[in-house]
Amino acid sequence: MLEFPRWKYVLVALVMFVAAVLALPNVFGEDPALQIERKDRAPMDDQARQSIEDLLHKQQIVIRRDYIDNGRLIVAFNDVASQIKARDTVDATLADIDRSALSNATRAPAWMRKLGLKAMPLGLDLRGGLYLLYQVDVNGAVSQLLDSYQQSFRRGLAEAKIPFTDVAAFNSGAGQVTDGLRVTLPPGSDTSAVTSALRKVDNSLTFRSAAGAEGPEVDMVLTPAQIKAREDYALEQNRTTLMNRVNELGVSEPIVQRQGLDRINVQLPGVQNSAEVKDLLGKVATLEFRLVDTQDSPLQAQQSGHAPLGAKLYKRKDGSPILLKREVVVTGDELTQATSTTSQEGPAVSIKLDARGAESMQRTTRLNVGKPLAVVFIEKSRHQVDLNGQKVERNVTTETVINVATIRGVFGPQFEVTGLAIGEARDLSLLLRSGSLAAPVDVVEERAIGPSLGQENIDKGVRALEIGMLAVFVFMFIYYHAFGLVADAVLLANVVLLTALLSMLRASLSLPGIAGIILTVGIAVDANVLIYERIREELRNGVSPQAAIRAGFDKAFSAIADSNVTALIAGLALWVIGTGAIRGFAIVLTLGIATSMFTSLMGSRALITLMYGGRAKVARLSIG
């Protein structure tokens, strides 16, 4: 008699049942589809669905099926041609309220969808799309922070009525970057008063005073932890901003994730035109509020090319010069909300300020009633410029004064800004809403994979998997007979289990991932071979069949465990260093090793015990 505890049978059956259910959605395949959502994020209802159906029917577009998923309407079609035609129709008629994106809809029945069962998402190499790797200039983020402290220090010292010569950024020498601010004071100044005034700006900063060449100095140096926190914040902020902008693009299932210490990767399935996307994603547009310098002549400054002390030369929309004060009243970072509206004077952007911005705006307007306040529109974008005949991409910043208004009273935290064209107002509110980029970004890697190549890669990968597995199945049967069939069943179970895990983890499947599944099949065989060879050996030594089975499983265990641990170490190393497709391979390999341990030790034993265990005596084993 062979024994295998009942609870282990139950466990194997239960695991395989759950795995089969989870893996099932992968069997059905997908149809080309259109994903439509409301621009205001309100969920789609049946009425909206009916009207879109009617619209498409009028254009003689055949709808295969449609359903509402997560507030979005998914319309599936029979072919790509109808999908494209439908997108054009929806974009032409409903562009104001709806946003559409090309996507794929699973053919799995509705109940599966409702249970949240989904197929493995496909990587870009299998479905086509655009991959962008952004390098975030984290040093730029630190200097932005220093800039904002510099503003606050000047403001704080002015409020405390402490005279100072200069506030400037400097490099303390601790790291590679400029990491501190130096306040230079007139000779004989009291540094402790300065320190306590600056503490009020930010209590977490550390100050030290020293005697400089021109007078006493107070230095503020950011700690490595503060720099790290700022870099981290910049990266996270940029990720969020990029994600928001990608969402505005209307791409289905986009991925925006941090990669390493200073990179962000953006994956846009189905997108092909990189120029357009890069332009919108990398764009920086914001507003700044400054007081107008009314004492000096802007024309004179323009002619001499030098702005007077404490002022900066700008241009209005019509090209005429204007001088603004250097101190910024409110920066773009202090805007919390922006919506495009229409006012009596034309298109406008309704602005909301955060506490710091509101306080600064309130104070400035209270002290400057009757004086003019200017709104500066800042736009940064990358342009190709000709440099000695070579095309070079450059960051181009344009700053335009869009509006100058006389302050009639104290401003609250919310007000409207006019002076923009309709398109500009909409773009600005979109960019302000999605958040500003906390640090400049730069594309360092770009992959555009055509949709036909994606399909070709799937076909190749799946064919290699099918043929490889079939060959292994036949070979195992010829070599081990009935035991070979058990091994085949176990291998199949392993692929099902692996598919289930990958679907559950929503790890996207790439071509190297498929290669990982195929390799796992090869590796999973090993455990079975170890056991069977051991059983054959025991049989050769004259052990009875049932004892041979028992000894085979028991004695092969340590070899199986040992040999899998080393493969697991390699898989984990790959998982940690790898990105993109390589990580996909590592995930598959690591999970595959784990599942193959389970299927060959538990599953295979359960099946063989079922075959031979019940009988009191077995004369012969069908092991080839």
Binding site: Q135, N273, S274, A275, K278, K391, V443, V444, E445, E446, R447, A448, I449, G450, S452, L453, K460, G461, A464, I467, G468, A471, V472, F475, I478, Y479, L511, P512, A515, L519, V521, G522, V525, D526, V529, L530, R536, R540, D554, F557, S558, A559, A561, D562, S563, V565, T566, A567, L568, I569, A570, G571, A573, L574, V576, G578, I582, A586, L589, G624
Partner: protein, 310 residues
């Protein structure tokens, strides 16, 4: 069916000096090639541009190359794949984005055959490439150190550990050497394959060592050379069987997986063959020459934790 109907008794250990010689020669050739010719790094590592395109019918490599040269690209590398319809073009780093490269290449290749389709454009900045390469080397190093650590902990004696570590070093060097000699493009997928080979080739070594320990347990008075030969012979049909099955699937990948997986599967095939050989002739033989004896494996009858499991 069985590869060996009777228990085999090949005298593996007696010819080990010959195989040492062979391994040393192969490793020297690999190292020399690696230091003289180096590896043909892909754009993953160097930065640059690759374009993959498909023609409606078979295309001549020289035609494509000369079309590119005429269009002003100095030294384009053109590779033709399996069906002769698919080509990969490698271009030096550029500031253009994928859209610009696609438009330009589309135009040039249309001159060769109007039905061409540009399927993939990859533009990698040089900085990214350099970092990937250094992280790849780090991963290789870290994996080797971790595995060496595991082996030393697992086998109690440095003799077996040294054998296993030499075998583990042996395989990736041969794979790298082959890639250097054949000028096959060395990209990130090949690094993944080499790591898989390192993890996987140790399988055999571990299985043989496991058997050696078991044999010594059974009879501690046996001659070490006899025990080693017996252990290798007893695990031989498993070794061959496993390798045949793995090779079946990897060859399927090589033939059917397309250009993306070509280098990957090639590295796996070489690695699996080298791994089989090294687990027989390197790891065990080195342990033997280091003076492996029964008492090294049976430290005062303390049982290893794994042996006490079911």
């Amino acid at each position: 069916m069985e590869f060996f109907h009777r228990a085999t008794s090949f005298p593996f250990m007696s010819t080990r000096k010959v195989w040492y010689g062979l391994s040393i020669v192969l490793i020297l050739i690999s190292l020399v090639s690696l230091s003289v010719r180096g590896l043909n790094f892909g754009v993953d590592f160097t930065g640059g541009v690759t374009v993959q395109a498909a023609f409606p019918s078979a295309v001549n490599r020289d035609t494509v190359t000369s079309a590119l040269v005429q269009a002003g690209y100095a030294d384009p590398q053109v590779t033709i794949f399996g069906t002769s319809r698919e080509i990969a073009i490698r271009l030096p780093p550029t500031k253009d984005n994928t859209e610009a490269v696609r438009t330009r290449l589309d135009q040039i290749l249309r001159g060769v055959d109007a039905g061409v389709e540009v399927q993939q454009v990859v533009v990698v900045g040089p900085q990214v490439g350099g970092e990937l390469l250094s992280s790849a080397w780090k991963a290789l190093g870290a994996t080797l150190v971790l595995i060496a650590g595991y082996i030393s902990w697992r086998f109690h004696t440095w003799r077996l550990s040294l054998g296993a570590i030499l075998a583990v070093l042996h395989d990736p060097i041969l794979v790298l050497g082959t890639f250097s000699l054949s000028r096959t493009t060395f990209d990130l997928t090949v690094v993944a394959a080499i790591l898989a080979v390192i993890g996987y080739s140790l399988n055999d070594t571990v299985v043989v060592f496991d058997r050696i320990r078991e044999r010594f347990h059974g009879n501690r008075r046996l001659q070490p050379v006899v025990v080693l030969d017996q252990s290798i012979n007893q695990t031989l049909s498993r070794t061959i069987m496993t390798k045949v099955v793995t090779l079946i699937v990897v060859v399927a990948l090589y033939v059917l997986g397309g250009p993306v997986l070509r280098g990957f599967s090639e590295a796996l095939i070489i690695g699996i063959l080298a791994g089989t050989y090294s687990s027989i002739y390197i790891s065990s033989a080195v342990a033997l020459d280091c003076g492996l004896k029964a008492e090294h494996l049976l430290p005062s009858a303390v049982k290893s934790p794994v042996d006490s499991m079911p």
